[in-house]
Amino acid sequence: MSGTPIGRRLPGALASLLIGLPVLLFIAVPIGAMLVRSLAVDHPMPLAELRQVTLEALDLLEPARREQAVARWSAAAKPRDRMEAVAAALELNGLDVPWDRKAPFDAQIAAAGTTLADLDAATRTAVEAAVPLAIVMLHKRIPLAFQVRDQLTAAAFDRLRSGQYRTYGLDHYLTVVREERMRNAAWNSLRLAAITTTVTTLAAFLLAFGINRGAVAGAQIARYGILIPLVSPPVVIATAAVLLFGRNGLVTKELLQDQLGLIDAGVSNLYGFSGVVLAQILSALPPAFIILDNVMSKQDGRLEEAAAIQGATFAQTFRRVTLPMAQPGLIRAATLVFILSMTDFGNPLVIGKDMPVLAGVLYDEMIGFSNTQLSSAVAVWLVVPAICVYVLLSRIGRRKRFETTEAGPSQIPVPGYVRATLSALAWSIIGFTAVIYATIVAGAFVKVWGQDFSFTPHHFTAVDAVPGFVSEYVGIEPVWISLRFALIAAPFGGVLAVAIAFLAERVRGLFNEVIAFLVLLPAILPGVVFGIGYIVAFNNPLGIKALSLNGTEAIVILNIMFGNVFVGVLAGRAMLRRLDSAVDEAAEALGASLLQRFAFVTLPMMRRAALLGTLYIFVDGMCTFSAITFLVGPDLDPASVAIFQTASVSYYGAACAMSVTILIIVFAVMGGLALINRHGPMSLRDRIESRQAVAA
C-alpha cells in the first residue's frame, strides 16, 4: 500500500480531512452563515399571499377538524380582531377600506359594522364569507402552524408562523445609516475609537521603545507589569474605574467630595465618554504593546548608531530612522486597537452611562430581540472601518516588516530627559494597573461599596448575606463552570493546534494551507462576530432541530476551542520551521506511519508550542465573554458572563469576587507552567540546544 503514490499520500489526506472538516464546520461555516444572515431581509407577506399560505395549511387538516377549527376561532374572535378581519376581507375582494385605520379601535369597530351594512347584498356575502378565513390568517396562524407542523418543512413552518417572506439584500446594512439612533451610536463609536487608538498606540509605542532601548528603569519587570491585564476577566478595568471614580467612588465621593469637599461626586465622575476611554485605553494597551514590543525588539540598533555617527541628534534619529522603521508595526497596532474599541460593548455598558455605541446596539439587538440579521450586519459594520484604515495606511508604507535576526539595541545612551519621561510613563501605568487590581480585591471583600465598607467574605461563599441585593448569583459558582469549560477545551485545543501545524508544515498541500488560514480568522475577527456566527449556524442547522447546539455546553466549549486555536497553530508552525524536517523524514524512512511520526517524533519536540496553545485557550476560556455571552442559555452561567451581568447591574461585590477567583486560578496555572518549564526535562533540551548553538 505504501509503495504506490496514492498510498503514500493517503494517510496525509485522511488526516487532513479528519482535522480539516471540523475546522471548516466550526470556523468557516459560522462566519459564512453570519454573513449570509446579515443579508437576509424579512418582509411581511402581502395579504393575498398570506391568505394563500393559510389556505394551504388549512387544507392539510382533515375536513372535519378544519371546519371545527375555523368555526371555533371565528366565534372566539374579539371585536377588534373581527374588525381587522373585515378590513382584510374588504381588501381581498378588491375594495378600499373606508375608515381611518389610525382611529381609536371603538370608532373603527363601529365603522366596520356600518361599512358592511352599506354594501350591496352580493358584495356583503362575499366579504362576510372571507371574514373567518381572514381571522385565521391574521390572528390564528400560530396555533394553526403548530397543528400542522409535522406536515410542513421547517422553512414553511417559519413562514406560516411569522407571516413573513425573506429576500436578500443590503437593507440591514443601510439601517445603520438610515436610523438616527444607529447613526448616533456609530458616531459615538467612531469618536471613541479614534481617541482610544491614538492615545493607546502612542503610549504603547513609547513604552516599547523605552523598554527596548534601556530607557525604562527595571525594563524586564516593567514588561511583565504592562502585560498583566491581558489575563483579566471582562470589564475588570471598567468595574474598578467605577469603584474608584464613579458616583460612589472611593476617590470621587470619599476623598474629593467628603474629605476635601472639592467636587460633587454625583455630578463629576467618570461615567460616560471619559470613563469608557480610560477603560478602553488600559484594556487595549497590552495587546498593542505586544505588537510594538515585538517590532522594537527586532529593530537593528546599528541603524540608530549609523545615524548618530553621521551627526544626527537623538531627536533627529528618532524622527528620521526609528519612527519610519516602526511604521508597519504602528499600523498593525493601531488597527488592532481600533477593532478592539469598535467591538467593545462591555465597557460602555458598565461605565458608559447613556452613551450608546454601535457595539452596544448589537448587544441589545441580539440579547433583547434575537435579531440575528441586524446584529450580523452591525457586526460586519464594526469591522469594516478597521479594515479600510489598515488598507489605507498600508499603502503609505513600503515594506511590511523591517526586521533583522542579528539585532541588538543601539548602545548609545538615551538622553536623560527621555529616560526620565519614559520611566515615569511606564511606572505610572503599571502603578495605576496595580491600583485597579487592588481595588478589585478590595471590592470582593467589601459589603456594599460606597455605602458600607465593612468586611465580608460572603461574596465568595454560598451564603447570601449581603442585604438589599437579590440576585441569582450566589457565591462564585460560575467560576467552577468556567473552569470546567476551560479545562475541557484547552488540552483538546492544544493537540488540535499542533496537529494543524504539523499538517501545514510537514504534510503541506493547498487544503492544509486553507485550513491554517481559516484557523486565523477568529484572531482577526472580533469575538462578537464569532459568537453570532455560532448562533446563526447551529441554532437550526440544516433545518434539523435535533442538531441544534444552542444553549448547550458543547457550543461554548467548541467556540472557546476554535476561537483560540490559532495561537497554538502559529507557535507550532514557527517551531516546525526551525526544526529540521530531516528528523521527520528519517522517521518515515525507518518505517513510521504518519500517526506514529506525529505522536512520537513531532509532538514531543513541539511540547512548548502545544503548551502555549493550551495555556492560551485555557486563559481565554476563563476570561473571554464577548463571543460566549450570546451562546449561553438560562441554565448556563460561565463566570465571564456572570461577571459582566453583575457588574452591569452594579452588583460589584459578586463581580469582584468572581474576578479575583479567576485571577488567582489563571496566575496559579501560568506560574505552575513556568516552573515546569524551568526545571523540567524540557529545559534540559533547551540547554543542550543553546549550547550547540553557541559552539557552532
Binding site: R302, I309, Q310, R320, R399
Partner: protein, 367 residues
C-alpha cells in the same frame, strides 16, 4: 600629531574584560587594521573610537583632541558597519545624503556631492533604489559612500566585508584602500581575516583577549612576530620543543638551530630552559643528512599546486611541515621514508619561552 590615540583604554562587560589597557597610536593618513580572533576586543575598541561605547578607563584622542566624553554625533569620523546598516525606508541617494540632510545643506550642493560619490563608488543608476533591492556588494559601497560624504578625516570600518563571498571580498578590499588613499584619510579596519589585513594595510595591530600584542607593518608581523600568539595567528607555523643554548640558538634534538629572539625572556632563563622553536614551513630548509641539520624522516609528500608540502617526522615523534616551491622540487630524488636533515633560514626562526603545549606543528593552532 597622531590621528587616533588610545591611551590605557579599558572596557569591561560584566565579568569579562573586553579591552585591557590598550595603547595605540595611528598616524594621519595611515591604513591600520585591527586583527584578531572573535571576542578579542577589536570591535569594541573601534566602537570606543566612534563613541558608541564609553571606556571604563583611559582616554581617546582624535586629531589631538580628547573626545572620550564627546557623543558620536559630534565626532568627525565616518563608520561602516558589518551589516551595512542602511536605512531601509530611504533610497540609496537619501542614505548617502543623510549627513548633509541633517545639517540642512542646500539641495543643489547635496545633489552634487551625492553624484560625485556615486561616481566614485560606481553606483550610478542605483540612486532611486532601496537597500533591499541591492546586492551585498552594492549595499556595502552605499554604506561607504554614506560614511564619506561629509568628508571625515577618519574612517572606521567594522568587518565591512565579512558578509560577502570571497571573490567580492578580494575585489572590494582593494577598492576600499584605493578610495581611502585618494581621499587621504586615516582608516582603521577591523577584521578577523588576517590575509585581508596583511594585503591592504600600512600597519597591522594584532589583538587577543583584549590585549594589543603587536603593531607593525604586515611584513614585520609576518617575518618577525613578537609573540607566540601572533606567530601562530598569522600564516602557518611549525612549533617544536627545544632547549635554550644562548640568546641566538637553541638545541633541537641535539642540533643547534639559529634563532631570532624577540626579547621576551626566552634567553634570560639560562641555558637548557625549555622553549618553543617557531618556524614557518617555507622557511624550513632541507639539507643532506650529516650537514649540521636536525635529523628527521620524510613521512609524506603533498602536492599543493604552487608548493610541495613535505611532512617531516622528527626523532622524538613530532611533525614538521616544510614547504618547497614546486619548481624547486622537480627532479628531487627524495621519497617517503628517506632520512633527511632540516634547518631554518637565518633570522627567520623565532624562539618563545615555554614548551609548545597546545600548539601543533602542521601549521594550525590546536583548539
Amino acid at each position: 600629531m597622531t590621528a587616533i590615540g588610545f591611551t590605557d583604554i579599558t572596557k569591561r562587560f560584566g565579568a569579562t574584560t573586553a579591552v585591557d589597557a590598550v595603547n595605540l597610536e595611528i598616524a594621519p593618513g595611515a591604513f591600520c587594521s585591527l586583527v584578531g580572533p572573535s571576542g578579542c576586543g577589536k570591535t569594541t575598541l573601534l566602537r570606543i573610537a566612534a563613541g558608541f561605547v564609553q571606556p571604563d578607563g583611559g582616554t581617546v584622542r582624535l586629531n589631538g583632541a580628547a573626545v572620550t566624553n564627546v557623543p558620536p554625533n559630534r565626532r568627525d569620523v565616518g563608520f561602516v558597519f558589518q551589516s551595512y546598516a542602511l536605512f531601509p525606508t530611504q533610497t540609496v541617494a537619501q542614505n548617502i545624503a543623510f549627513s548633509l540632510a541633517i545639517k540642512r545643506r542646500p539641495r543643489r550642493e547635496v545633489a552634487e556631492r551625492v553624484g560625485a560619490l556615486c561616481e566614485m563608488m560606481r553606483l550610478q543608476g542605483l540612486e532611486a533604489r532601496y537597500p533591499h533591492e541591492l546586492s551585498g556588494g552594492q549595499q556595502q559601497r552605499v554604506a561607504l559612500a554614506r560614511a564619506l560624504i561629509s568628508q571625515p578625516s577618519i574612517l572606521l570600518l567594522d568587518e565591512p566585508l565579512s558578509a560577502l563571498d570571497a571573490k567580492i571580498r578580494a575585489h572590494l578590499r582593494v577598492e576600499i584602500r584605493r578610495v581611502v588613499d585618494a581621499l587621504g584619510i586615516t582608516a582603521v579596519y577591523v577584521t578577523h581575516d588576517q590575509e585581508e589585513a596583511l594585503s591592504i594595510s600600512d600597519r597591522v595591530a594584532i589583538m587577543n583577549e583584549g590585549r594589543l600584542l603587536q603593531v607593525d607593518t604586515p611584513l614585520e608581523v609576518y617575518l618577525h612576530p613578537a609573540d607566540r600568539f601572533v606567530a601562530n595567528f598569522v600564516g602557518s607555523m611549525n612549533n617544536l620543543p627545544c632547549r635554550v643554548i644562548d640568546a641566538e640558538s637553541v638545541d633541537v634534538g641535539g642540533v643547534a638551530v639559529p634563532v631570532r629572539n624577540p626579547g621576551n625572556g626566552a634567553g634570560s632563563h639560562g641555558s637548557n630552559a625549555p622553549a618553543t622553536l617557531s618556524v614557518r614551513p617555507e622557511h624550513v630548509t632541507l639539507t643532506p643528512p650529516g650537514n649540521g641539520g636536525v635529523p628527521a624522516v620524510l613521512s609524506a609528500i603533498s602536492f599543493l599546486g604552487q608548493t610541495v608540502r613535505l611532512s617531516l617526522a622528527t626523532l622524538d615523534d613530532r611533525q614538521l611541515a616544510a614547504d618547497v616551491p614546486t619548481v624547486d622540487w622537480i627532479g628531487q630524488p627524495l621519497e617517503p621514508g628517506a632520512a633527511v636533515a632540516w634547518s631554518a633560514r637565518a633570522g627567520l626562526a623565532t624562539v618563545f619561552p615555554g614548551a609548545p603545549d597546545g600548539l601543533s606543528s602542521d601549521g594550525a593552532t590546536a583548539p
